[in-house]
Amino acid sequence: MFELEARAEPSRLMSWLSPLLAVMLMLGGGVLVFWALGKDPVEGFRVFFLNPLKDFYSLSELLLKATPLMLCAIGLAIGFRANVWNIGAEGQFMLGAAAATGVALYFDGSDSSLLLPVMIVAGALGGAAWAAIPALLRTRFNANEILVSLMLVYVAQLFVSWLVFGPWKDPDGFNFPQTRMFGDAALMPALLEGTRLHYGFLLAIAVLIAGHAFMNRSFAGFRMRVAGAAPDAARYAGFSAARMIWVGLLLGGAAAGMAGMAEVAGPMGQLTDKVGSGYGFAAIIVAFVGRLNAFGIFLASLLMALLYIGGEQAQQYLNLPSSISMVFQGMLLFFLLGADVFINYRLRLRRRAPRSH
């Protein structure tokens, strides 16, 4: 009936329309999900997608949620462009949070204005160090970085649990698995009075801009693009494949680590075993929905933040499990991958197939 016809060249228009199409399909799929769960679809839509946008405070919460997503996603995009598949931003996020917490606890009671910058650096280094493991194993032993980085997420989770159940547990914390609250000098100042939005958002914007410059203006970014688009051409030009892997993973890890730092020094104010809330995984979807492009990632992280908050709202007002937001995330990625077919193909009505005889 219909057939897919290869386009002469990939459609630029479609590569930007495809995420929009995916969002529309996700919304449509969402209405079906609400209906299937016996909820009023209109009410569900309102609670899930409109509540998070209804006032100034809600919008500030949206930006707050988007902050770690932006940071993780721009770091991942740099690697993804070079076909370096870091799936473990979640673990790098946790290690960054732990490293920043270590600094905050060590200098507990300090009121130095250098404390936050040092924590940011510590967070970046912590994340990068965790990402260095898959980089080393990949370049040394050709171990697949997808599996290694993913598995290290669970190691990171256990490591953070050990810290907060053990040596870093708050002595006055009624045995809860959490560190003591950070001092004021170790907390990100609020960006807008009366909201939880903090300077980490500005940090994320700065990293987005830096990431954009790296990917599009620097020679290192050019080499990464070549490595991703045509590995043989990169080898021919003499760009070291090992260096691409190191750069892709270390930058991705550093950005995720900073996101972890911004989370413990921002809304959480302490390290707990619940520090990883899936931002590192969600950022993979953000990076692809944003077309591995800084501005696209900005928009996509807002969308993903909306899904997170919408899920919380649905839990509160509709008695739905909070995992509903993961269903939406999954639908979004699913529809995006489907819609991406139309970048390279167009749909057309098929002529009658020639009859053989």
């Binding site: 620097s218 290192a220 688009a229 021919y236």
Partner: protein, 542 residues
Amino acid sequence: MSQRSVPSAASAPPALHHAGPDPGAPPRLQLKGISKVYPTVVANDRVDLAVRPGEIRAILGENGAGKSTLMKIIYGVTHASAGQMLWEGREVQVANPAHARRLGIGMVFQHFSLFETLSVVENVALALPGRPALGELAQRISEVSERYGLPIDPRRHVHALSVGERQRVEIIRCLLQNPRLLIMDEPTSVLTPQAVKKLFETLRQLAAEGCSILYISHKLDEIQALCHTATVLRGGKLSGECIPAEETPQSMARLMIGKELPHCEHSAAQAGGEVRLSLAGLSHASLTPFGTDLKDIHLDVRAGEIVGIAGVSGNGQQELLRVISGEETLAEKFPVHICGVEAGSLRPGARRRLGLTFVPEERLGRGAVPDLSLTDNALLTAARGQQLVTGGFVRFGRARAFAERCIAAFNVKCGGPGAAAKSLSGGNLQKFIVGREILQAPRLFVCAQPTWGVDVGAAAFIRQSIIDLRDRGCAVLVISEELDELFEICDRIAVIAKGRLSPSRPAGETSVEDIGVWMSGLWPGSALMQAATPAYAEPLDV
């Protein structure tokens, strides 16, 4: 193509025409007004074609003239946008290759489709309908191979076969289905001149038995030697029909490209230039399972000369090039000297700083990144030499200017420096890549298959550019499977066979025949000449 009169193996005396087809017989296959329109290009424009039983008809045309598209339509790989196809007088629409095979049409493609890890009989069985018994099939393969002079052992694994032997497997696979029309797509590009002769004997025998043959080629001497009739395509359109025996290469070239064959100005090389590339006892095990190991290679290339390396593809050319370019590094420095520096373990960037530039065989994906612009592709190898990067940041203005210089100096037809590499035709992209490498003023220039798949005009331009580069004092190494090309531009020629390199001979003191013999590994003092082991019992069969 060469104006120098190079005696070619293919130009045997045209004594075959007595076996020509009966001119009164009705056509076995007839095409009427076949057109094929792609989104951006008209590949075939109202082409007519007829071939009679027992007729060997050449389909002659440059790359991009629409030959392959037309054959794919006949074989059912793709479908015509308009026109009519008559098979033995009845109109047919070939749905797919299986349908074509049921009708009695067989095709041997330029690029083989064989599974390397399977044996010959297993490969053939996969192409046949049903599940043939392997023992019985092996028997039939032996029969066919004996009958048509295509010796092959059905139990051997394909990875152990030479390219010529693989082609035999493809041909036998077709013949087992008793085709009444056989399509051969550029079959001789992978064969030595001696193997070409054998192939022609087989094809003549098939034709004498009544099989029609469509023979695709752009080599005029082969067509004159083999084909009864020729259909010439130019730019997707029928540009004429002729009887090759009654034409000259010049007159057929006019039909094919619309003008005389261009040729290159070539003066004698300067003698006694300094050695810019030296391979001293280079041995290197291939990194891929079915690659060729390089064994004890010695070669000097001096400033002001062009050295050519001939050979049937798959005899170590790829491996040798990677070792010279630095895409594969050696553990030790000494076997490769570039401009006097031991460079065996240096990476490509370091070798470029010594004065090497390099044009690889694959244009898209290796020499250029398909999706990136020409400006970005200029950056690929010229970033350091042309100072296109400062402080880690790309100076896009300078890169663009350099790309514009390549485009202007090498007459590249494109939409400007912003055009994606893949939007260029093969010839234009090759001119851009050659330009990018030559305009960096190399001291040593290495070029693989300089004109592979490039139209005649662009090929002549590229060859002349290489000769001009030599005249400016550069050392040039050219690796090519086109013997005519090597004889046209090279000062010295060596041959690579089974990973070993022959001594070089001045191009004027050797012939296509001699080089052809060497291409089977039989040069004076070669390992094969000294020890003719049973494995090499038929060394001429490569």
